[in-house]
């Protein structure tokens, strides 16, 4: 038994004798070491659970009923029994609250407290708020206190209640009774709602700076204001109070300074100029604390450390500002920082972990400030040495923090070299630390200290660590290795080796960005292309290699296989057979990439043509059920058989170099590391790079790029890669080989949900314009058929026979009358047939007639809207969709679209001004369908939530579908 265990056992033994503590487990301040003996400590609790054990003595006023209830709950054997007991209690409380007999304050307090307990157990509470509010006006302190606690925990946005609560708070704030004022301030700080900010943000600064306010009230007021500032910064205006608030740093009462400094720090971050006088005050306060003897500050000394919380906060406040300009102030501050660093070397005044934690908390905060200033080489190097000592400390916590702190130190030019001297310790930490979060810190630090001089060592260590690394950190490790390898590559063969190793060791964690990047670099640097081809060829020899390896291999051999074809061991056919042996194990995108590699092989090595054509011609390719694979097989087969060698050479020319740009991997890492660090553009760019690289994996991707991407010129000008084969818009050789197919314009109908006029369809021959108007359940549509060619269209027919002839360049008009009989979801079809230069053209279009065209807008007041909204509460009457914004979230554009929808856009209905609500009635011959709509944009997430309620379920559903595509 260790010493601690003996002590604990004694403690438990003794507790058995003490009245009121029978069988209770104690947990007086256990150090980390004693936690290990907790099995022993646990036993008495197990035993005691069988008894209905309540503490015999309860501090303050006991509520016996509450204690009995809690102990009942604890004795419940199952979840069901607990729920049953709770329901019984809820019924009891409800009847007590509803009963005729007025409850006395004590009972009310007891029941409210029980409700609170039930809520904290995780059950819903839907009554008792009013009783809690009543308690606020009790003249008994404990009743008031319980009332406030209930309100603090169970805030209800019920506006009626908020007003009552605010009234009670107002009374207590003006009571001049400091305990009541504190209770009220605590409540505001705990709830922190906007309504409270509106009511009290003006009053609290006055209380904070008033000369006759008690210290304890000042403390509460300061932090209360901080909380309100965090939720509603626009409502908390310090204005004239600013300088008096700053001067709270000079207050005699340490508690007041401690509370006030949190507020000042927060305000300084937002308005540094207005609060900059706090710097010299903070420095002098800090200097007084740092130089005080350990007993000077009495109760503010914590385990022989003078005012650790206040010291940390002072150092934190100073980090909101640059180094002080005033030489004297700066000198004093540097002195403080030196003293703090010196104290770290002194022998500890206590062996307790609390002493060292408090002392080191100040030290780490001081180091943060030194790093923030980044201007005192001497201090930076001292900080680095200090952290170096911590790297080998026996406390895991200190090792963790030292690694974390050194990471920021590594980026300073003054201390980068000093940090590098600890490389061996850090590598050791990566290998031997037992806690994954510490290893993660070590990996971060290695990444931060890496430069040209140690890159090879660090990358090698990280790679070898990767083999055993935790799954949770592998992806990030892979990204970091990839970035370091690229950034510090002197010879690119090392880079290629590293990335291929990365794929071999952790292929599953190698994201697309990583393997795209290696291909980009190989393509851009001709000195490494031969080496890359040779290395991937060797890597592919492994019987089981990762699919990412096949991708890189396929791409690189397709481009540069010729560079190693001279060696009979890697002759063209050997290369092809090697790649094709992997084909059947791969996913569709990889197979598509391999097919592109094969067609490139035909160009590089004419002798492989017949073998490859054989493969392409096989049923498993040319009749593949996957449309992309089938299309590639068909197109490539056709291309290889009809195109001349010259054409083939032009089409399948080597990929041109990629434009230099920021590594997409870096962008990805930034994204992982924190939102806001990288713009969406960069990431999209990464994706686009992907599109061009893997040979246009998806047809949709290519045609979706409407704005010219930085790579567009690359595709258009050199017409090299087979990528273009897949893009219908490219208009290159390949496209002409096949007839233009595809009913892709069906989607055009969605463009007309919010507007009535526009171009419905257009190709090289024909343009169809549309104009339409609707009233009630009737509509009229004008169709304009324009012939864009100079040749006549003959026997032009639509489902309704029209003019049999449209002259070249001419336009004819068709009018369609529409009547809406009942609600519908499928639009009517329009079939058009005509002859153009002898060829029969056949076209089927959906007419842009959607249910919303028959909307009659309905204006209504907020009250009516919510009443009707509630009336439509059947689950099937509501349709809801949450979707990503496809367009910029511009309020005016949204408004225009909603108006175009045909409903009335109602202002001042939704309590949230960002939201839109609309109302309208759909007129059909059979019935009228009232519909309400609510659209909630979330600008931050770039998402919308759309809710539609209408009296007919099919209508809600259809409207929701139509609209979800509009925004």
């Amino acid at each position: 038994m260790t010493g601690t265990e003996v002590q604990l056992a004694n403690q438990i033994g003794r507790s058995g004798l003490e009245a009121g503590h029978v069988g209770r487990k104690r947990w007086r301040e256990l150090s980390a070491r004693s936690v290990t003996s907790s099995v022993r400590v646990q036993r008495p609790t197990e035993k005691s659970r069988t008894r209905a054990n309540m503490p015999a003595v309860s501090k303050g006023d006991g509520m016996r009923g509450l204690a009995v209830f809690i102990s009942d709950i604890r004795n419940c054997k199952s979840k069901e029994a607990e729920i049953k007991r709770i329901n019984k209690e809820l019924a009891n409380i409800r009847s007590k609250f509803k009963g005729d007999k007025a409850l006395d304050g004590y009972s009310k307090k007891k029941y409210v407290c029980k409700l609170l307990f039930i809520f904290l157990l995780g059950h819903d509470i839907d009554f008792g708020h009013m009783e809690a509010v009543n308690l606020l006006s009790s003249n008994k302190y404990t009743e008031k206190q319980i009332g406030y606690l209930f309100i603090s925990v169970l805030v209800n946005s019920n506006s009626e209640l908020i007003r009552l609560i605010n009234n009670a708070i107002k009374n207590d704030l003006s009571s001049r009774n400091p305990t009541f004022m504190c209770l009220a301030l605590h409540c505001i700080a705990n709830v922190g709602s906007r309504e409270m900010a509106e009511a009290f943000a003006g009053e609290i600064p006055r209380i904070l700076v008033a000369g006759d306010t008690m210290d304890s009230v000042k403390q509460s007021a300061a932090l209360c204001l901080l909380r309100l500032y965090k939720t509603s910064p626009d409502l908390v205006l310090m204005g004239e109070w600013t300088s008096r608030v700053v001067h709270l740093l000079n207050d005699q009462h340490m508690g007041v300074v401690t509370a006030a400094i949190s507020l000042i720090t927060c305000l300084s971050q937002k308005n540094p100029d207005e609060f900059k006088t706090c710097v010299s005050l903070a420095v002098s306060r800090l200097s007084r604390i740092v130089s005080s003897a350990s007993t000077d500050l009495q109760d503010y000394t914590y385990y022989f450390v003078p005012a650790p919380w206040l010291s940390c906060k002072l150092l934190r406040l100073l980090q909101c500002y640059p180094p002080p300009e005033d030489g004297a102030v700066k000198g004093r501050l540097v002195e403080c920082l030196e003293t703090i660093l010196n104290k770290a070397q002194e022998p500890p005044k206590s062996k307790k972990v609390q002493h060292s934690n408090a002392k080191n908390a100040i030290l780490f905060e001081a180091i943060s400030l030194i790093i923030h200033y980044d201007s005192e080489p001497n201090l930076l190097v001292r900080a680095c040495n200090q952290l170096g000592q911590f790297l080998q400390h026996r406390e895991t916590n200190l090792r963790y923090l030292a690694l974390e702190s050194m990471c920021t130190l590594a980026s300073s030019e003054f201390s980068h070299e000093a940090v590098k001297t600890h490389i061996e310790t850090v590598i050791n930490a990566l290998k031997t630390e037992r806690d994954v979060s510490v290893r993660q810190r070590a990996a971060d630090l290695l990444y931060a200290m890496c430069d040209r001089s140690n890159a090879k060592q660090i990358v090698a260590e990280m790679l070898s660590y990767l083999e055993t690394a935790d799954y949770s950190i592998r992806e990030e490790m892979v990204l970091k290795v990839a970035i370091l390898a690229e950034k510090y590559a002197v010879d690119y063969s090392w880079y290629v080796d590293t990335i291929l190793n990365l794929i071999r060791i952790a292929g599953d964690y190698v994201s697309e960005e990583v393997w795209y990047r290696v291909i980009q670099i190989v393509i851009n640097r001709d000195d490494v292309q031969g080496y890359a081809a040779k290395t991937v060829f060797e890597a592919l020899q492994a019987p089981a290699c990762h699919e990412n390896m096949v991708k890189v291999g396929g791409y690189i051999l397709g481009e540069f296989g010729n560079l190693i074809a001279g060696d009979p061991r890697s002759s063209p056919l050997v290369q092809f057979n090697l790649l094709h042996s992997k084909f059947h194990l791969c996913s569709v995108p990889t197979r598509a990439l391999l097919l592109s590699a094969y067609i490139k092989f035909i160009n590089l090595f004419p002798e492989t043509k017949s073998t490859i054509q054989e493969v392409l011609r096989s049923d498993s390719q040319i009749r593949n059920s996957d449309v992309e694979l089938q299309q590639r097989a068909v197109e490539y087969l056709k291309l290889s058989s009809i195109a001349s060698t010259d054409v083939l050479a032009t089409v399948l020319e080597e990929m041109p170099p990629f434009p230099e740009r920021e590594s997409s991997i870096l962008a990805k890492l930034k994204k992982k590391k924190g939102p806001g660090a990288v713009s969406v553009n960069e990431l999209e760019e990464g994706k686009r790079e992907g599109g061009e690289l893997n040979g246009g994996g998806e047809r949709g991707d290519n045609s979706a790029i409407s704005t010219p991407s930085p790579s567009a010129d690359l595709l258009g000008l050199r017409t090299g890669p087979p990528v273009t084969a897949a893009a219908p818009s490219a208009g290159s050789l390949l496209v002409d080989v096949f007839s233009e197919a595809g009913p892709f314009f069906i989607l055009f109908i969605l463009l007309f949900v919010c507007k009535n006029n526009g171009v419905l369809f257009e190709n090289q021959l024909l343009q169809i314009g549309i104009k339409s108007e609707y009233r009630q359940n009737l509509g009229r549509m004008y169709l304009f058929y324009g012939n864009k060619t100079s040749v006549q269209f003959i026997t032009f027919t639509t489902t309704v026979t029209l003019e049999p002839l449209i002259e070249g360049g001419a336009q004819v008009q068709q009018v369609i009358n529409i009547e809406c009989l009942t609600d519908f979801s499928d639009a009517p079809l329009l079939n058009i047939k005509f002859r153009y230069g002898g060829a029969l053209q056949n076209l089927t279009l959906k007419l842009p007639v959607t249910i919303n065209k028959f909307f009659q807008p309905t204006e209504m007041a907020s009250h009516d809207f919510f009443q009707r909204w509630k009336q439509l509460s059947l689950p099937q009457q509501e349709a809801q969709k949450i979707f990503k914004a496809n367009h910029a979230m511009d309020t005016e554009v949204l408004k225009a679209k909603l108006l175009g929808l045909g409903m009335a856009l109602l202002e001042n209905v939704d309590p949230n001004p960002e939201n839109f609500v609309c109302a309208g009635v759909i007129q059909t011959k059979a019935q009228q369908v009232g519909s309400l709509l609510r659209l909630e944009p979330n600008a931050q997430a770039q998402m919308y939530r759309l809710t539609v309620r209408s009296s007919k379920d099919t209508v809600s559903k259809r409207l929701c579908e139509l609209l979800a595509e509009q925004f």
Binding site: R24, W27, T45, P55, G60, F117, S137, Q145, R227
Partner: protein
């Protein structure tokens, strides 16, 4: 600090204090996730971990875990001592505190916390001062205040403005 949670080794939540506005659903989700994460950690591991974009600082006292979520720039070690000071306050108030004290007198545990931390920041770090405030409140319980205040409030409730 964004929130503080106290839970037992069995994963039962004993105290929760939230300093940022969150829905009940989110609170429950966070609690579930964190309790699981922290309970899965071994005794000798370090007391800090990264979780979402927050830093979690936790410490175990016998059967109870104290767990705080702080922001990126907050100091981990001083937060560890915030936890310890709170334990000391509970210990002093209840006289050798144990988990049962917190279960049966949960409201007191909340009151003590409110005197010590407010809005997620330290309000009063002196043990003596915090306990003085709590004991004063305990003494006050039966002392009635001027009835003017409550009469005035009753009027307000009767006639909503």
């Amino acid at each position: 600090m964004q929130f503080m949670l106290l839970f037992s080794r069995q994963g039962k939540l004993r105290l929760q204090k939230w300093y940022v506005p969150l829905s009940d659903k989110e609170k429950k989700k966070i609690t579930r996730e964190l309790v699981q994460t922290v309970l899965a950690r071994k005794p000798k591991m370090c007391s800090f971990l990264e979780w979402r974009d927050l830093k979690i600082v936790y410490k175990r006292y016998a059967s109870l875990y104290f767990c705080c979520a702080i922001e990126d720039q907050d100091n981990e070690l001083i937060t560890l001592e915030i936890i310890h000071r709170y334990v000391e306050l509970l210990d002093k108030y209840f006289g050798s505190v144990c988990e049962l004290d917190i279960i049966f007198n949960f409201e007191k545990a909340y009151f003590i916390l409110d005197e010590f931390l407010l809005g997620g920041e330290a309000q009063e770090t002196s043990k003596k001062n915090v306990l003085k405030a709590i004991e004063q409140a305990d003494l006050l319980q039966e002392v009635s205040t001027q009835s003017v205040t409550s009469e005035h409030l009753c009027k307000c409730i009767a006639t909503p403005q």
